[in-house]
């Protein structure tokens, strides 16, 4: 109770409230615009949040992260174009419903399922917090090193069909963060260039790979201005209908919570698993993909349950599971707040305050959506090349305001071209960012843990370290077994 009161105290500030409103409303709008997405917005806003307190900056970024998927469902349902990549599965059942003249019903269901998923995840995590706090205390350097290694392995194997290049890009990310001065002041991969001595900044890479590359994509692709018909009627009935699918929404939200907590897994796997489970349990599985309300509920509830859960490895262990939480980690670092076991056990009120903020933002988003869907339909129709102009202009703010460095801008522009090519080739970008972040964590934690390690087996002589090591082996074994099975099946055909 004391923790809860203290958490409310942290949030009861005008700037936090303003950040919550701006983040949640802004997130919905950004999510609703196809081709922009939360990653671009967070990358651009990141340096601007550095001037605020961590709670203010994080609340605004969390607002965007948590609410963008609500907005992304609108174009997915009405014009068959997902606003954010994670809303892709929503098009399977949402758009056929619109074609049947049930667009309003589909939106109402998507909003209510998203709300349920988000709130369910937050309540689970608030209840789990004390348990997680005591569990996090058992994580020392070795355990965090192994957890970061597990995170990298999971991110790589999650890119099915692209695991080799995902591994190469994760190594590229690790290499990028080694550039510059080493701890002993020796220079690493600077090639005699003084501007490389200070290393490659994570934010510059993030802005290049996510924002500038996306601006290039929008500017070079054919101009497109999606059309959508205005909606009429109330969308409150979604909750009533949702109650008829209690089992689907609860199972899907649970998948979101569990998958969100595992680094590198995230929304796509949560959605896929909840969708296939819902289809298996459904009395009308043939409707899935043809406008099934259950399918729509499954995908929306699962993807909205992920953001709160994804904060767990970040806050408890300091390990981001995907690109957006990796960006948020830099906000902590800038303010000298070190996420990890100490934060979870020593500043539980701060952690709970973040969860309460997420809870409030879900309510704010729902209220905003209930009254503004038709306004958002107008925003969806902004031409894509016009958006490209805006994103490129905003990218300048992000890069230049970091340290007023032209070198950073040149670097970001070059990385932007790299990201543009990777996006055109459908190659994974996220392993580069996670390689940079987790690579640094692994480097530091391994060095610290080596002081107490006499032989390699000492690394895994504690229970959690041993479990993490076994998990790494299981993940790798499962991956290679799947490849072997696929090859066997291909040969038999």
């Amino acid at each position: 109770m004391e923790v809860l009161l203290s958490s409310f105290g942290i949030l009861a500030r005008w700037d936090v409230v303003a950040a919550l409103i701006i983040g949640s409303v802004g997130g919905v709008i950004i999510g609703a615009i196809p081709g922009v997405g939360a990653a671009v917005a967070i990358a651009i806003l990141l340096p601007a949040t550095f001037i605020f307190d961590p709670i203010v900056g994080l609340t605004a970024l969390l607002g965007i992260y948590g609410s963008s998927m609500y907005g992304g469902a609108i174009p997915a349902i009405l014009i068959n174009t997902p606003g954010t990549a994670v809303n892709a599965l929503t098009t399977y059942d949402g758009y056929p419903m619109t074609q049947r003249g049930e667009g309003r019903r589909a939106l109402a269901l998507a909003y209510s399922a998203s709300f349920f998923g988000g709130v369910f995840a937050i309540l689970c995590l608030i209840l789990l917090s004390p348990l997680l706090a005591s569990f996090a205390k058992n994580f020392g350097s070795r355990e965090i090193f192994l957890a970061a290694l597990l995170g990298i392995v999971l991110v790589i194997v999650a890119h099915r069909g692209q695991t080799l290049i995902a591994a190469a890009f994760a190594c590229f990310g690790i290499w990028l963060q080694t550039i510059g001065l080493a701890l002993d002041y020796s220079k690493t991969y600077t090639f005699g260039q003084s501007w490389l001595s200070s290393g490659v900044n994570l934010i510059v890479v993030v802005l290049g790979l996510f924002a500038i590359s996306q601006a290039f994509v929008l500017l070079i692709d054919k101009d497109n201005s999606p059309k959508a018909e205005p909606m009429s009627g109330s969308i409150f009935q979604g909750f009533k209908e949702l109650m008829q699918h209690k089992r689907v929404v609860t199972i899907s939200s649970s998948f979101g919570v569990v998958m969100g907590m595992i680094p590198g897994v995230g929304e796509f796997t949560a959605q896929f698993m909840s969708y296939t489970t819902a289809r298996r349990l459904s009395k009308t599985p043939e409707q899935f993909g043809n406008g099934s309300p259950e399918g729509l509920i499954a995908s929306e509830a699962a993807n909205n349950a992920v953001p709160p859960a994804a904060m767990i490895p970040l806050l408890a262990l300091g390990i981001p599971g995907e690109a957006l939480t990796a960006m948020m980690l830099s906000v902590f670092y800038v303010h000298n707040v070190v996420p990890g076991p100490q934060l979870f056990s020593g500043q539980l009120d701060f952690v709970v305050a973040l969860y309460i903020a997420l809870l409030i933002l879900n309510v704010l988003v729902l209220v905003f959506l209930l009254f503004s869907t038709n306004l958002l339909l107008k925003i969806i129709q902004i031409p894509t090349r016009f958006l490209g102009v805006v994103v490129l202009t905003l990218s300048f703010v992000g890069v230049y305001s970091l340290r007023n460095s032209v070198t950073d801008c040149i670097m970001a522009a070059c990385i932007g071209v790299l990201g543009f090519i990777m996006k055109r080739l459908n190659l994974p970008i996220v392993p580069i960012i996670l390689g940079m972040v987790l690579g640094e964590i692994m480097q530091n934690k391994l060095r610290t843990s080596m002081l107490r390690v006499k032989n390699p087996f000492d690394m895994i002589d504690r229970p959690i370290a041993f479990i993490l090591f076994c998990l790494i082996l299981i993940v790798l074994f499962g991956h290679f077994r799947r490849i072997w099975m696929e090859q066997k099946a291909a040969k038999s055909q």
């Binding site: 190469a168 805006v390 490129l392 007023n404 391994l446 080596m450 696929e486």
Partner: protein, 171 residues
């Protein structure tokens, strides 16, 4: 890996080959560009993590190239031309970067959004005005309201005293 499901995009082999050659070059430079101290502990060596990473880049990049090479498709030239088109916008961006400290954030942004909008094929006055307005709002939100660190333009020095300070602080 199921070879039947491999789909290679035009230009992918070129990109991966370039990545592999870059990685191999970095690996060849490891001895020169990273320090290995004879007496230090292995995992405390400055060269360990750069070594692991460039070795991983070369190994996995090479293996990916090998698995994709036999599935290569045509159209590399056209795809490469599209990549080069991005350089035009890099040039736009860099001109903007160099212009801001000289001519000021507000004038440069208004000009940048409007001119780039024109370059993207928008000819209607209303659309170009929207582009100018977008530029104005970006400056207002980030510089005036949030006070992000963007220096005032050198050109502001020629303004009258009272206006000069106002422009440097807000625009």
């Amino acid at each position: 890996m199921n070879t039947q499901t491999i789909k290679t995009k035009p230009g992918e082999i070129l990109f991966i080959a370039a990545f592999f050659l870059f990685s191999a070059f970095l690996l060849s430079q490891l001895g020169e560009q990273a320090t290995f101290k004879p007496k230090g502990k292995f995992f405390a060596q400055p060269a360990v993590w750069p070594g692991i990473s460039v070795f991983g880049m070369t190994l996995f990049g090479g293996l990916h190239l090998l698995t994709r090479y036999k599935h290569r498709v045509g159209g590399t030239g056209a795809e490469f031309t599209t990549w080069l088109r991005a350089l035009e916008f890099v040039a736009w961006f860099m001109v903007y970067v160099y212009a801001v400290p000289k001519f000021g954030y507000l004038p440069c942004t208004l000009l940048f959004t409007t001119a780039l909008g024109f370059r993207m094929g928008y000819r209607k006055t209303s659309t170009l005005l929207w582009a100018t307005f977008a530029g104005l709002m970006i400056v207002f939100i980030f510089k005036t309201l949030l006070g992000v660190k963007i220096p005032g333009g050198a050109i502001y020095e020629y303004l009258p005293d009272a206006l000069r300070n106002f422009m440097i602080v807000n625009f």
